[in-house]
């Protein structure tokens, strides 16, 4: 009987082990902390898309993942402070957008081991990645095809206004990706006989001043305004300044869609920020699964074309049928 009792005890122990083993092996679920820094409210949809996609990938907010969002709206000083704080807090990942914030994030996080995923960042002319296939360091992200968009905007502007030869190009003074875009634009413009007037402004007020000076003496050198991808003209104040100038001078704007009530921009070539956020989320998921950020190839954002027929009508401009058909969205 002792043998039977001993055998029974052995069987019970095995059964217990069978049930308890998975409990012992199960790891406590990790809660990932993500620091998000939005350098420009214009791209805020990126953060929404990012959260949405991670939620779809199974990250439950509050349990599996927590987010800390900071919006600086083009304030480099604060941006650095926020990024440093993220590093001190040892967050699991930093999502930074657009370009200048991404560059700062790369610098601040260097050596901390914290991976950085950038979004809405122009990599051409910026020291952000080593190679699109293998970005290096601890950085990867979603590329904003800046130079391509800049040239595409010029091409569409010429499609709408084929006789324009003088174009005003305002931009943020010292913005890191401007030069790469201008490099692409200049030869295209020269080939079709277009003359650019560049206005490098520090802020909206500076832009207003420079535009005022431009028209002093009744001279108006520009027939159209081209907005290239940069931060000043996608801020409310910046666009208000150029919008007021365009309305006053009856010069159509092209490149970025109108911000505010004034419908002064004929078209916009941009990217879907929410879609960019979703693309960034897929990269973050890979990083959470242990893949080093620097080995994950940079993905490119898709561009889309929007055409504003109301603005076109205001300026007495007819949008070609082909462009209307090519456009992803038409604002009527």
């Amino acid at each position: 009987m002792r043998v039977i009792r001993r055998g029974g005890a052995l069987v019970m122990t095995w059964i217990l082990m069978l049930f308890l083993l998975p409990l012992n092996c199960a790891k406590a679920p990790k809660t990932y902390r993500v620091g998000i820094l939005s350098g420009l409210d214009f791209f805020l949809e990126t953060e929404t898309g990012f959260r949405q996609k991670l939620s779809e990938l199974g990250y439950k907010e509050g349990t599996d993942i927590v987010y800390e969002l900071h919006r600086t709206n083009f304030d480099p000083g604060t941006e650095r402070e926020v990024l440093q704080r993220y590093c001190e807090q040892k967050v699991d990942l930093i999502l930074a957008f657009p370009t200048e914030v991404a560059l700062q994030a790369k610098q601040v996080a260097r050596g901390s081991g914290i991976p950085v995923v950038f979004a809405n960042a122009i990599i051409e002319g910026a020291d952000l990645v080593e190679d699109i296939r293998e970005p290096g360091g601890n950085v990867t992200g979603v590329r904003f095809p800046g130079p391509d968009i800049a040239v595409k905007r010029l091409e569409i502007l010429r499609t709408i206004l084929p006789h324009v030869t003088r174009i005003l190009v305002p931009y943020q003074q010292g913005y890191p990706t401007i030069e790469s875009q201008l490099e692409m634009l200049r030869p295209v413009a020269e080939s079709v006989g277009i003359t650019f007037t560049f206005i490098a402004a520090n802020d909206a007020a500076d832009l207003s001043d420079q535009l005022s000076k431009l028209t002093e003496g009744g001279n108006n050198l520009a027939q159209a305004i081209l907005i290239i991808p940069e931060p000043l003209l996608v801020s409310n104040e910046g666009f208000a300044a150029i919008s007021a100038f365009a309305a006053k001078q009856k010069i159509p704007i092209g490149g970025a869609l109108s911000i505010g009530d004034e419908r002064v921009s004929l078209f916009g070539v941009a990217i879907d920020n929410a879609a960019v956020g979703r693309q960034a989320a897929v990269l973050a998921d890979k990083i959470f699964h242990g893949v080093p950020a620097g080995t994950i190839p940079v993905v490119s954002a898709e561009t889309y074309i929007q055409v504003d027929v109301v603005a076109a009508r205001q300026f007495g401009v007819e949008i070609p049928n082909g462009l209307l058909k090519q456009a992803d969205a038409i604002l009527r």
Binding site: R2, V3, I4, V11, T140, L283, I296, Y304, G322, K325
Partner: protein, 588 residues
């Protein structure tokens, strides 16, 4: 302290053995049945998984095929409704722009004239930048669409975005079917990724598309596509690339999948494209049915095994109880309780065994009683015999005592007679007779002093005889050397033996050492290898006169010696070399 009895040394009890056998047998049957059932289940589930995977693979292939077919269909439809071959360049450009707006995946669109000259190009990206990028597969496409309904290029990588792309093309023909040009579109396969991601695999399952080199062209993880991963190392992909495709596609099997985990995957090659769609389900998820069935089987097995154990113990107890009772009874009987009988209830065989046991016990009891009685009787007889023997021994001892005393009395009478005679010859004769009687008395003395009446230690007796003679003849100048072994001889041998020594030693004392000559008388007695006894009487005296044969000598002593030797059926020899040595040998 007695050694501790260990469990290993003690034999297992009958009930434990029976229970173990029963439970073991039940478990064996359950295991065999369970294994057969489990194997059957596993086979069924495996086949079901394989079929399911094939189905998912086919659907996925249809989805991917449809992605490309839709693009070709869009191009054909555009040509069908617009009559592109008769359009002007502006309208053709508008057509391409419309197509570009309609289908985001069209990166670039081209219209070529019948001479394969590029007429119009429209791009979703900037034209100026795209112009720098050569249309790598355009010549192939133009050649192909002249003779075929459509063209699909191999997959290539866009150097700007690192994204995979293909070129598709359809011919532009007039109403008579004459070739009027080509409509070519560059398709960004990135848009296929979402399609692949949505392929209804399982929650944990993945689907991906590979081209004919094994390069990954669509996968839920775009990073791997962008990195240009080649997954030919995956067994299924290798089969596809090597052309080892079965009729049903790439059959489902177990392998390490694209994520490095064990998966069950199946693949389906596309109809018109040299691609294959692979769908993979983690093996754990795919095997959930098997695992559930196995767990249920194990639980059922454990319950049944527990039940079998319970039944086994009960049955074993029931079967072994009468045997245990029988064993207890046998133990008690062995302990001396012969009157008790086994109280046996149970199966027929057990009852029969119990009855046989009781019968055997009764017979054993009767036999034992009889034996005990016989033993008692034997003991009583033995006791009587002992008593009788003791009485006879006492009587015999008394007889020997009295014989010895009588012989001593006669010896004393002869001594007294000798003392009254003046004739030395008479005195000598009387003294010799006295010595002979004395020797015989010594034998009887030895016999009544011993417990063994069968024989006496002749060695000791002869030693004593020699000492008595030496003392009697007062020959202090002579030395006696006695080398006798312990030899027990019966009285009818011991007395002649003693008389022989008496005669020979007396002869030696009287004649061998005249004129107070010094010397040694040696007496030896030993048992020979053949069992006979050898007696040696030796002296280093003057020896027997030369030419005298002791057998013919008219001497009383020597006559007695030879007649006693004959009585003993022995032999006697004499050596006269150094003194005199008599060697007598007789059977014991």
């Amino acid at each position: 302290m007695p050694p501790r009895k260990t469990h290993e040394n003690s034999p297992r009890s009958l009930s434990a053995t029976l229970a173990l056998v029963f439970v073991g047998f039940c478990c064996l049957v359950l295991v065999i049945l369970g294994a057969v059932q489990l194997y059957t289940n596993i086979r069924l589930v495996q086949e079901s998984i394989a079929d399911r995977q094939q189905l998912i693979g086919r659907k996925a292939a249809e989805t991917v095929q449809r992605f490309v077919d839709d693009k070709l269909h869009t191009l054909r439809t555009a040509l069908w409704i617009t009559d592109a071959q008769t359009m002007g360049i502006g309208d053709q450009e508008a057509l391409l722009q419309s197509l570009s707006g309609l289908e985001n995946s069209f990166k670039r669109l081209f219209i070529f004239d019948p001479n394969d000259r590029e007429i119009v190009t429209v791009s979703r990206r900037s034209q100026a930048i795209e112009e720098r990028r050569a249309c790598r597969y355009c010549p192939d496409a133009l050649r192909a669409v002249r003779s075929a309904q459509h063209y699909t290029s191999s997959v290539y990588i866009d150097s700007t975005t690192n994204e995979p792309a293909i070129l598709i093309g359809v011919p532009i023909t007039d109403a008579y079917g004459v070739h009027q040009g080509s409509l070519i579109a560059e398709v960004n396969l990135k848009f296929m990724w979402e399609v692949v991601e949505r392929i209804p695999s399982d929650d944990q399952g993945v689907a991906y598309v590979v081209d004919n080199t094994g390069a990954l062209i669509a996968f839920g993880d775009p990073a791997r596509v962008l990195r240009g991963d080649n997954v030919r190392y995956i067994e299924l992909v290798e089969d596809f690339v090597s052309g080892r495709i079965q009729s049903g596609g790439l059959r489902a099997r177990l392998y390490r999948g694209i994520s490095g985990d064990w998966v069950i995957g199946a693949g389906t090659p596309l109809e018109s494209l040299d691609w294959a769609v692979i769908v993979e389900i983690p093996v754990l998820e795919a095997s959930q049915g098997i695992i559930q069935r196995t767990i249920i089987s194990i639980v059922v097995f454990l319950i049944l095994a527990g039940f079998a154990a319970f039944l086994g113990v009960r049955l074993a107890r029931r079967l072994s109880e009468p045997i245990v009772r029988l064993m207890d009874t046998a133990g008690r009987i062995a302990g001396g309780e012969r009157a008790i009988r086994a109280d046996i209830t149970g199966t027929r065989e057990i009852v029969a065994l119990g009855e046989a046991f009781n019968s055997m016990t009764s017979q054993l009891d009767a036999t034992m009683s009889s034996l005990e009685q016989q033993i008692e009787e034997v003991k009583e007889k033995e006791s009587a015999l002992r008593k009788s023997l003791s009485e006879k021994e006492a009587l015999l001892r008394e007889i020997h005592h009295r014989v010895k005393n009588n012989l001593q009395v006669i010896s004393s009478l002869l001594h007294m007679q000798s003392a009254q005679s003046d004739d030395p010859r008479v005195r000598s004769v009387l003294a010799e007779s006295e010595h002979r009687l004395r020797t015989m008395a010594l034998v009887h003395e030895a016999l009544y002093r011993t417990d063994n009446f069968a024989g006496i230690d002749v060695g000791a007796h002869l030693r004593r005889t020699l000492e008595e003679l030496m003392r009697s003849y007062a020959r202090t100048d002579l030395a006696a050397r006695v080398e006798v072994e312990k030899v027990d001889l019966p009285i009818d041998t011991a007395i002649p033996c003693g008389l022989i020594v008496n005669e020979l030693v007396t002869n030696t004392l009287k004649y061998a050492f005249p004129e107070k000559r010094k010397g040694t008388i040696t007496l030896k007695l030993s048992r020979e290898v053949d069992g006979s006894v050898e007696l040696i009487v030796q002296d280093d005296g003057i020896g027997f006169p030369a030419g005298v044969d002791f057998r013919t000598l008219k001497s009383m002593g020597m006559t007695i010696v030879t007649s006693l030797v004959d009585q003993l059926s022995g032999t006697i020899t004499m050596d006269n070399a150094l003194g005199t040595t008599f060697r007598i040998r007789f059977p014991s």
